[in-house]
């Protein structure tokens, strides 16, 4: 029989997890609007993305405070302690992923409309964005299901994003003689970089899933020491 106090604690902990994973949904929504603004040069929508980041920041503060309260008041241990530690990481990644969307939204008016014959590059950016969005969903679902295999599979889609990022860089480098075109292309390499960071955030959340289940933290891929 569960003691009443612990039952309340476990409800609060479950609510905190819902709040933190809901933060990933907020990021996914922001990513949708960001990609739409990028595709259609919708600067009003980009401004909405910037303004709406407050909701993600608010969610960060809410979860952060919840984590502190449960640590201070409930002295969690074992799987409860691991969950609380993981949620603190998850919400930090969520906040950073939201910031990447803001970075993209801010650069769109600076970059200006895409020059002619740049659809190849824009298409790759949108492809990156869609992969990143599916990574967000997978990170959320694998965490909620405590599914380490699904979390580890995030690395596969992250490889796809990384490959697109390198392709975009190569395309941008070969953009031709026109200075304004090159400037736009350079801005788009930033966009690619920020989308790649959104994907990294999803992988980081996946690593927290593995920690939560196994009690051991490990990086899914060692980008500091890549295998050559």
């Amino acid at each position: 029989m569960m003691a009443q106090g612990r039952a309340t604690f476990h409800h609060e902990l479950a609510d905190l997890e819902v709040a933190a994973l809901g933060g990933i949904d907020l990021v996914a929504g922001q990513l949708d609007r960001t990609l739409e603004a990028l595709e259609h040069q919708d600067l009003e929508l980009a401004a909405l993305v910037i303004g709406d980041d407050d909701r993600i920041d608010g969610r960060y503060l809410e979860v952060h405070q919840g984590v502190l309260s449960l640590l201070a008041l409930q002295a969690p241990v074992a799987s409860d302690l691991r969950l609380i530690a993981a949620l603190l990481h998850v919400i930090k990644h969520v906040e950073r992923m939201g910031d990447q969307c803001v970075n993209i939204a801010k650069i769109l008016p600076l970059a200006g409309p895409p020059p002619p014959r740049t659809g190849q590059l824009t298409g790759r950016l949108l492809q990156m964005g869609h992969v990143a969005r599916s990574q967000c969903e997978k990170a959320r679902d694998s965490f909620a299901a405590r599914d380490v295999l699904a979390a580890e599979d995030l690395v596969r889609s992250d490889d796809e994003i990384n490959a697109l990022n390198r392709e975009i860089f190569q395309v941008a480098v070969g953009m031709g003689e026109d200075a304004s075109m090159r400037e736009w292309a350079m801005h788009m390499t930033f966009v690619a970089r920020w989308l790649e960071r959104v994907g990294d955030g999803a992988v980081d959340i996946g690593e927290q899933t593995a920690f939560l289940v196994t009690g051991l933290f490990r990086e899914f891929s060692d980008s500091s020491h890549p295998v050559t």
Binding site: H10, A75, A78, S79
Partner: protein, 272 residues
């Protein structure tokens, strides 16, 4: 183990300078009974020397019975009996040739409720165990009383009133007095059965700090219902349930990633 081996353990110098005489305890296949009722069901546990081992588990799981088996207190209960093996550094505590008094001198015990001898002074409470073990020289007694009170962190609070009754002290002081009485006879193992459960948070903290210091010289086993206390003071923690030892591991491991689901469920409050 022969009675002589335990009883003739060499006297040890002051805590700060002494090499650790702590010894490990091995429990193998231990069954304990109260009449027909079985309280322990084949417990195997190695208690490391010079460390603090916490025993946790719900009420009635057998943790107090287990510590009482280590120094043969269990057999004092009418109808109680023990099967299995308990050794202190390889010497059988239950060997028929062993003097039970010598066992209890080598393996001291501190109880849940402070129990100073009510008619004795502070000094005589500490000296009582020494007198029982035959140390009667006044100078030697005074030195040992002071040393025990210092090691128990109580000397500076009582040095000017050693003749006052032990029961005149606060609850926390009385418990440290009982610890002084225990360590005065220089045991090798100290068993503590919920030593701070009757104390306020400040007195509890003093006891926990004391446990941390005493483990430099003694092997300590502490029974506690307070899991945060186990997490704070113990190097290893053993979880017991229904007379069985479920899991024994480093305290960090037990409280972050226990191996057994029953341990997980108990410490996270899913039952109990």
């Amino acid at each position: 183990m022969s009675a002589m081996t335990i009883a003739e353990a060499p006297a040890t110098p002051l805590l700060a300078t002494a090499p650790s005489p702590a010894k490990h305890v091995d429990i193998r296949g231990l069954f304990a009974y109260y009449g027909e009722g079985r309280a322990l069901n084949g417990v195997d546990l190695r208690i490391p020397a010079g460390e603090v081992t916490a025993l946790i588990g719900p009420s009635g799981c057998g943790k107090s019975t287990l510590v009482r088996c280590i120094n043969r207190m269990h057999e004092e209960v009418r109808g109680a009996r023990v099967e299995g093996e308990v050794t202190l550094d390889g010497h059988d505590v239950y060997d028929p040739a062993v003097d039970v008094v010598a066992v209890r001198r080598a393996i001291g015990m501190v109880f849940q409720k402070p129990n100073p001898f009510p008619t004795m002074s502070i000094r005589d409470n500490v000296a009582a165990g020494l007198r029982l073990t035959g140390r009667r020289g006044t100078r030697d007694l005074d030195e040992r009383v002071e040393r025990a009170l210092r090691d128990a962190g109580l000397w500076e609070e009582v040095e000017d009133r050693l003749g006052h009754p032990g029961v005149s002290l606060s609850g926390g002081q009385q418990q440290r007095l009982c610890i002084a009485r225990t360590i005065a006879v220089e045991p090798e193992v100290i068993l503590m059965d919920e030593p701070a459960s009757a104390l306020d948070p400040i007195a509890t903290l003093r006891i926990e700090e004391l446990v941390g210091k005493l483990k430099q010289r003694y092997t300590i086993v502490i029974v506690t219902h307070n899991m945060q206390q186990a997490a704070r003071v113990a190097d290893t923690t053993a979880f017991m349930l229904d007379g069985e030892l479920v899991e024994h591991d480093t305290t960090e491991r037990i409280f972050t990633k226990p191996a057994d689901q029953r341990t997980e469920d108990y410490i996270t409050g899913k039952f109990g």
